[in-house]
């Protein structure tokens, strides 16, 4: 039986403001609040809310509709602040049990290529956030823009994820079909779901220009060869409403899908269900990172030119990452998340295909780069100011472990002190009672007290 796996990405970057050279060292707020509020509210109004409302209806109708989402941490923060009704809708969807939430790096950044430690930390943080919001601990992971390579897969497997979703790029699939489950070439515990970019782009890119009906679409899926049972349709949620405006009738198409699918014996399934049901047919070799962006399906739209690579190298400098992970400064950590978002790098692309690319507040790639580097210049200075430049990351970690250990030791001691104190009080109470029984003058217990305390201290000191 063929199963359709629907997955939607929910991500909005936090826009950076025009940050001048003269602000360096003086202004540590980097964001364009107006643009952020406008962008997220417009997106919610035109896409997220209508699309999620439709899905909630579909899930409640009980036609076997299932869907998966992942939210980037920055998107959650923005939604919580500016459009909490979207979070409400997602929570209602989560209650229907038709929805699975996936893990992804919190910042929607390139940490998977830049720094493994930071990548792990981000994924875990985002998974925790998913649990807090929706009561599900993600078992399947997706990287920012579906960046995937063998190494990233191995890291995810090591973190305990059962599956990961990746781009079904022609150059890694070769003659193979994306309609099977594969496994990571470096660690076969991790199953891979490959995106079918033809069927996905039929909706997200081409629906307006080449309209199709849900019947035709399901016919195509039903007409796939025997054995090709996993159809992965992954896209951004903004495909419903922004890439394809609501006036194209995309939501009507979408609402008709479950009925049409059922008529042809097709099922919906979440990534976890697919991974549980289907065994991996073969390992999937992928030496260089693939992604779902551009025709090349690689990382060239973020790291294609020298400017992007320079910004990337400065952002993921080992010393910098070590310091940020070690520090406890919440503002630095929040800024780090927002500066990492891959969109910042996308704005700097000079690829010919990017001629009409949306560049936010920037005029061109050079403008985006100089503005980002001004911000990064300030941010890196703040990070350097946290700890002396001479300290190596290892030393820093050692110091931190020492501090945590000391803290633990202290808490142990504190417990001991309070226990002893309790015992002492008991003892005193007893003595008092005895004294009362013997009906001796009231001054005596008071005189005894100072004598008892040094004794208790002595025992403490001994135990230390």
């Amino acid at each position: 039986m063929k199963q359709i796996c629907l997955y939607f990405e929910i991500h909005q970057p936090i826009h950076l403001k025009r940050y001048r050279f003269f602000d360096i060292g003086k202004d540590h707020y980097y964001y364009d609040d107006y643009e952020n509020e406008r962008a997220i509210q417009e997106t919610s109004r035109n896409s997220y809310i209508p699309a999620l409302t439709a899905m909630l209806d579909m899930a409640k109708k009980d036609e076997g509709f299932k869907v998966a989402f992942s939210l980037s941490g920055t998107a959650i923060e923005m939604l919580e602040q500016y459009a909490p009704e979207v979070i409400d809708l997602l929570q209602q969807l989560a209650e229907t049990k038709c929805v699975e939430f996936l893990a992804e790096p919190y910042s929607h950044g390139l940490a998977s290529i830049g720094n493994e430690e930071s990548f792990r930390e981000e994924v875990q943080r985002q998974a925790k956030k998913m649990h807090e919001l929706f009561g599900q601990t993600p078992k399947v992971v997706r990287n920012s823009s579906l960046i995937y390579s063998d190494e990233i897969g191995a890291v995810c497997a090591d973190m305990g994820f059962k599956g990961m979703i990746a781009e079904g790029a022609k150059h890694i699939l070769g003659w193979k079909s994306p309609h099977y489950v594969y496994s990571c070439a470096q660690d076969n515990r991790l199953s891979l779901l490959m995106r079918d970019y033809n069927l996905s782009d039929d909706i997200s890119l081409r629906f307006g220009s080449q309209p199709i009906t849900a019947d035709t679409y399901c016919d195509w899926i039903a007409g796939l060869p025997e054995g090709e049972d996993v159809i992965n349709i992954f896209m951004e949620l903004v495909a419903l409403g922004i890439f394809q405006p609501l006036s194209t009738g995309i939501l009507e198409f979408f609402k008709a899908l479950p009925a049409c699918a059922r008529a042809r014996g097709l099922q919906f399934a979440t990534p976890s269900e697919i991974i549980a049901k289907h065994k991996a047919v073969a390992p999937m070799e992928c030496v260089y990172p693939v992604s779902w962006n551009d025709e090349e399906r690689d990382t060239s739209c973020w790291l294609g030119n020298t400017m992007q690579r320079e910004a990337f190298a400065k952002l993921y400098d080992e010393k910098v990452v070590g310091r940020i992970l070690a520090c406890k400064d919440r503002r630095i950590k929040a800024d780090w998340d927002r500066l990492q978002a891959s969109n910042n790098f996308r704005f700097m692309t000079t690829k010919p295909a990017s001629a009409n690319l949306y560049r936010g507040i920037y005029e061109n790639a050079f403008d985006a780069f100089t503005n980002y580097m001004n911000i990064l210049g300030d941010f890196l200075k703040r990070v350097r100011d946290l700890f002396s430049d001479q300290v190596e990351n290892d030393e820093l970690n050692a110091l931190y472990t020492q501090i945590t250990n000391l803290g633990e030791e202290l808490s142990v001691k504190e417990n001991e002190v309070s226990r002893l104190r309790a015992r002492l009080e008991k003892y005193e109470a007893k003595e008092k009672a005895e004294a009362a029984a013997e009906e001796k003058p009231a001054a005596k217990p008071a005189a005894k007290k100072p004598a008892a305390k040094p004794a208790a201290k002595k025992t403490e000191a001994k135990k230390k």
Partner: protein, 370 residues
């Protein structure tokens, strides 16, 4: 003495250093008291200072048109309608074949440095013929190669001595790979000139050696300096205690050698970290410089704040200024260099020895040789 001066730029509309230099020399002459300057500009804005007569070359007729005074009275910027009739009485040839004549019989200029610059230069010299016939003057003064043909033409017509002012030669602008057309215009202007004023000794040597001029008629005439205005002096430097700022001030173009600045910055940043470099201004090499800073891996300490605003505010961040030309440091930038000197140290770098740093404050100057 009456001077007929041809220029291409004049404040408040500033494209480059030429405007400021033209302003400086005319202002200086006006303070002499007995010098009257008539300044010919392709396209004045009408907001120029009034100490000299501005002639708007876009409104000097080269073709006779029948116009009623009352109809055109209010249309003139720079000179007046009365001047217009005087000019119209001195037409010297039939220029009806020219493209772009307006109803007054004038040729329009775009202003600045448009794509058809050579055509505009030619038109400029055609109009100069009319002026030379209608104006009364003792001396012709032409600024830079754009106006040399006009100066030569005026000299041919009037027989008055021609003084040309060499702010830069094409050897400086192109680092030796001259544009033959531009070189031809420059050489022709110098050949006809009775006096060649060069802005530096280095430029004078270039004129003598590359343009084969008689050293006797070449003089080095350095640009002068204004003390900083009170408005600038009132700014309290707002220094960041732990970081120094080194600024490049100028157009980001080949003539100024911005790539040397980037290389120098990369060398400095290999050794120390508490310095930021700032390339203020804009220009045709800006994007290349952004890429270059990225390639050298110094982009987090090398910033591009953009045009003008940067130059102004740099003073308030109180760092060092680097103002330079590859060939002749003081020739182009002296005025602002010396202003900078009032507030901060100054660095330059040079490729050729010579006296070109002579005007800089010795204790505070530093030069990087390549």
């Amino acid at each position: 003495m009456k001077v007929l001066m041809f220029g291409w730029e004049f404040p408040p509309k500033i494209y480059g250093g030429l405007a400021v230099a033209s302003y400086g020399i005319t202002k200086g002459l006006s303070l002499q008291g007995d010098v009257q300057t008539t300044f010919c500009l392709p396209k004045p804005t009408g907001e120029e200072e009034k100490f000299l007569n501005i002639i708007n070359m876009s409104q000097v007729p080269v073709v006779w048109r029948d116009k009623n005074y009352d109809d055109i009275r209010d249309r003139f910027v720079g000179h007046t309608a009365v001047d217009y009739y005087r000019f119209r009485d001195h037409l010297y040839a039939d220029f009806n074949y020219l493209q772009g004549l307006d109803d007054l019989g004038c040729i329009q200029f775009a202003g600045g440095y448009p794509g058809n610059l050579h055509e505009e230069i030619n038109n400029f010299s055609i109009i100069a013929g009319v002026l030379a016939r209608s104006e009364d003057f003792d001396l012709i003064h032409a600024h830079d190669w754009l106006t040399y043909p006009a100066g030569v033409h005026a000299k041919m017509v009037s027989g008055k001595p021609l003084c040309i002012h060499v702010h830069a030669t094409d050897f400086d602008r192109s680092r030796g790979k001259v544009n033959p057309t531009v070189y031809g215009i420059e050489k022709n202007g110098m050949d006809h000139a009775d006096c060649i004023m060069c802005v530096s000794e280095l430029t004078r040597q270039t004129v003598i050696n590359q343009y084969h001029q008689d050293p006797k008629k070449c003089v080095a005439m350095h640009n002068a300096v204004y003390p900083l205005s009170e408005e600038y002096q009132a700014i309290v430097p707002n220094k960041t205690p732990d970081e120094k700022v080194v600024t490049f001030l100028g157009r980001i173009t080949m003539q100024k050698g911005p790539e040397y600045f980037v290389e120098a910055a990369a060398k400095v940043l290999q050794r120390t970290h508490n310095i930021r470099f700032c390339m203020a201004g804009s220009g045709d090499m800006m994007n290349a410089m952004i890429r270059m800073a990225a390639e050298r891996g110094i982009a987090d300490r090398f910033h591009f704040p953009g045009f003008r605003l940067g130059a102004f505010r740099h003073r308030s961040s109180g760092g060092h200024a680097v103002r330079l030309s590859v060939y002749h440091l003081q020739a182009v930038g002296l005025r602002r260099d010396s202003e900078q000197r009032h507030q901060s140290g100054l660095l330059g770098y040079r490729r050729y020895g010579g006296r070109h740093l002579q005007h800089l404050h010795q204790r505070q100057s530093l030069s990087v040789s390549f």
